[in-house]
């Protein structure tokens, strides 16, 4: 896809500002700095070279040292007054500051002192530059890991070492596994460890709050190819298709679950289609959302969930029928 003109203008201005502060920079260096190809840097230099003030005669134009450029070094000789670095727009400032604050507050357990210090100094410098307008957005990240687990995961990721973990899956079955950690994905609700699981010889996503314990092994983690989007739970097409009919209050289900399709119905309720890999996971979801679930298809899934619910109600025995406050007692029976 073609780059947006606005993004390119910002880079063109950024290059002038950077080159004004440095005695020349190689094309390679500029490409690395701005995260573009060498060809793009050269195209940008060509554009800058013919830009300037109206009239566009030679002395009106931005200029570079030609002989340096032939050696692959970009050296600015005329800036046409464009050397001021561009300030951040209100939204740019607030987006970065809010994200940094969330990193500072939420990822603490996964950063060692040195890294935590870098986050804080970047936050302090940025806040000083953009002011306090950042209060309009408040994001939080939830690591949701026991401190010992968080620190083991962070160490393994940083040092590229294998982990031994005890993990309990959605079906409540615990197992011991060796995992080469790839990425720790943290969002507003919880975190996942994307890793290569040696037990199944494949890439797996582990919910960090279900990692019971983690130990860093003295074995280097092997490199495994991972798609850049890895860490997003995307069920394959082979899972069974289940449809949930939900009340309008159940919108959060559609927002927090990878759904295949959402169909809005005229009465405000809606249906979602899900591909189910783990029946235990679906059972949990339906129980959790039971207040908002109007119907589940196929019928066999509804019957399964209802059966689990009845078994649990039975286990509560007399407790199930007590009024909500009947057990509040003072100091024993």
């Amino acid at each position: 896809m073609a780059e947006r003109a606005s993004d390119r203008v910002v880079r063109l201005l950024g290059m002038i500002a950077f080159l004004d502060r440095h005695e020349g920079a190689s094309v390679d260096e500029l490409a690395r700095l701005f995260g573009v190809s060498n060809q793009q840097v050269m195209a940008d230099v060509d554009t800058l070279w013919v830009s300037g003030t109206p009239g566009y005669l030679p002395y009106d134009l931005i200029d570079f040292d030609f002989s340096s450029y032939q050696r692959g070094v970009v050296r600015l000789t005329e800036s046409r007054g464009m050397t001021r670095p561009l300030r951040l727009s209100a939204r740019e400032g607030v987006a970065l500051v809010a994200a940094l604050r969330a990193l500072d507050a939420g990822l603490g357990g996964a950063l060692d002192d040195e890294r935590a210090q870098v986050v804080r100094s970047a936050l302090a410098k940025l806040t000083a530059a953009v002011g306090d307008a950042a209060g309009t957005v408040d994001v939080s990240l939830t690591l949701a890991a026991a401190p010992a687990v968080a620190s083991a995961l962070a160490t393994a990721l940083r040092e590229g070492r294998r982990l031994h973990v005890r993990y309990v899956n959605a079906a409540d079955v615990a197992s011991e596994r060796e995992v080469d950690p790839i990425r720790l994905v943290t969002d507003t609700d919880r975190s996942y460890l994307l890793g290569w699981c040696h037990a199944v010889e494949g890439e797996r996503l582990f919910r960090v709050d279900r990692i019971l314990s983690a130990r860093v092994l003295d074995v280097p983690a092997e490199q495994h190819p991972v798609p850049p989007g890895g860490g997003e739970f995307v069920p394959g097409d082979d899972g069974a298709l289940v449809t949930l009919h939900l009340t309008s209050h159940g919108r959060w289900v559609a927002e927090s679950t990878p759904v295949q399709e959402v169909r809005n119905l005229p009465d405000g309720s809606f249906e979602i289609d899900l591909r189910i890999v783990s029946p235990a996971w679906l059972r949990h979801l339906v129980l959790q959302a039971a207040d908002d679930v109007l119907d589940v298809r196929p019928v066999s899934v509804a019957a399964d969930v209802a059966q689990v619910a009845r078994a649990a109600l039975a286990a509560y025995g007399p407790l199930a029928d007590l009024p909500a406050d009947a057990l509040v007692q003072d100091g024993g029976a």
Binding site: R21, D172, R183, L322
Partner: protein
């Protein structure tokens, strides 16, 4: 016919012209002198091009000001406010730029992602070299998108402009037009919430972005209301915030719910001995008593209900009540099958 000039090149030339012009430039001067505008085949095409370019410059944070010349009636000119143009001095190390790169990638929302990547380009221009991202390698923080209403609401909150929105109330499902002074956007439990002053109800309110239908319309001028009173913001947010930490008592089947057991705490001082309670004692047979800390009764209930009969909530009644009510609703999803 020469090939039309690249829009980025035209924008750059417009900006250079405005920065270097003494005083202001009128639209006519721009059309006649700035490279790229002569390409416009008609007056209309030029107007559209120029309007779009002005909007783009402003989106980038460039302070483009409109100046009216008192002597010439409606003769409008433009200039750049150079005082407000420049980034204040900021000296970022490679490690700090690396952390900022991670922060920029946190946003999953496309608009916000575009904003943060442009912000990074601006900051790299004054940094000490490419960002060192190896410092934070392996970390992938994510903030979910707030949908198409997020960016307009954020702009309105920043500019303190009133918005009109169509909202589906959670309690009644009723759809109504609301006029809101937007204060703050808060990410909670995977969803985004707008906190603001509801002008119709004359009270602070919070709105889930996912229940806003259609688009958000900005009405009136910027600066229409004062910065919100922190106490009011706090009160409106109370419903989304976790309460004080409390301890729940659970009866768990052996070797089950390890993810919950791993968070177990000691029995709080003065804990009730439930095994002495004649009503509760039979329920505890063959189960372990586990105490866990929680802040939000609903969240804990939603976690525990998933274990079915493996985890029973003994105390507090509030959490038990939530679990039981979810179980009763779930039991109604299908009739009991009687084996004959």
């Amino acid at each position: 016919m020469p090939s039309p000039i690249d829009p980025a090149e035209r924008l750059l030339n417009l900006l250079i012209a405005l920065v270097n012009s003494r005083g202001r430039m009128t639209k006519e001067q721009v059309r006649a002198s700035v490279a790229g505008y002569a390409d416009a085949p008609s007056d209309d095409a030029f107007e559209r091009m120029f309007e779009r370019d002005k909007d783009t410059l402003r989106e980038l944070g460039i302070p483009l000001v409109t100046v009216t010349d008192a002597g010439h009636g409606d003769d409008i000119g433009y200039r750049i406010d150079l005082e407000a143009y420049a980034l204040p001095p900021i000296d970022l190390t490679a490690a700090e730029l690396g952390v900022l790169t991670l922060a920029a990638q946190t946003w999953q929302d496309r608009t916000m992602r575009g904003d943060t990547s442009r912000a990074l380009t601006k900051l790299r221009a004054v940094g000490q070299g490419p960002g060192a991202t190896d410092l934070v390698a392996g970390l992938a923080p994510r903030v979910r998108s707030g949908g198409s209403v997020f960016a307009p609401l954020l702009d309105a909150a920043q500019a303190r402009q009133v918005v009109r929105l169509t909202y589906r109330a959670a309690s009644t499902g009723e759809v109504r037009e609301r006029r809101v002074e937007p204060w703050q956007l808060v990410a909670r439990r995977g969803g985004w919430v707008l906190v603001g002053w509801d002008q119709d109800r004359q009270a602070p309110r919070s709105f889930r972005l996912s229940r806003i239908e259609g688009s958000v319309r900005v009405t009136g001028e910027p600066g229409a209301f004062p910065p919100p009173d922190p106490d009011l913001v706090d009160r409106a947010l109370a419903a989304w915030r976790a309460g004080p930490s409390r301890v729940a008592t659970l009866a768990v089947l052996p070797e089950r719910a390890e993810a919950t057991r791993v968070r177990a705490v000691d029995a709080p001082a003065g804990a009730v001995d439930w095994s002495a309670d004649p009503q509760v004692a039979p329920v505890l047979v063959g189960r372990d008593i586990v105490h866990v800390e929680y802040r939000n009764a609903w969240e804990l209930a939603e976690e525990l209900v998933g274990y079915g009969d493996a985890v029973l909530v003994i105390d507090p009644p509030e959490v038990r009540g939530h679990v039981l009510s979810l179980l009763r609703r779930a039991a109604e999803l299908a009739p009991e099958v009687t084996r004959g």
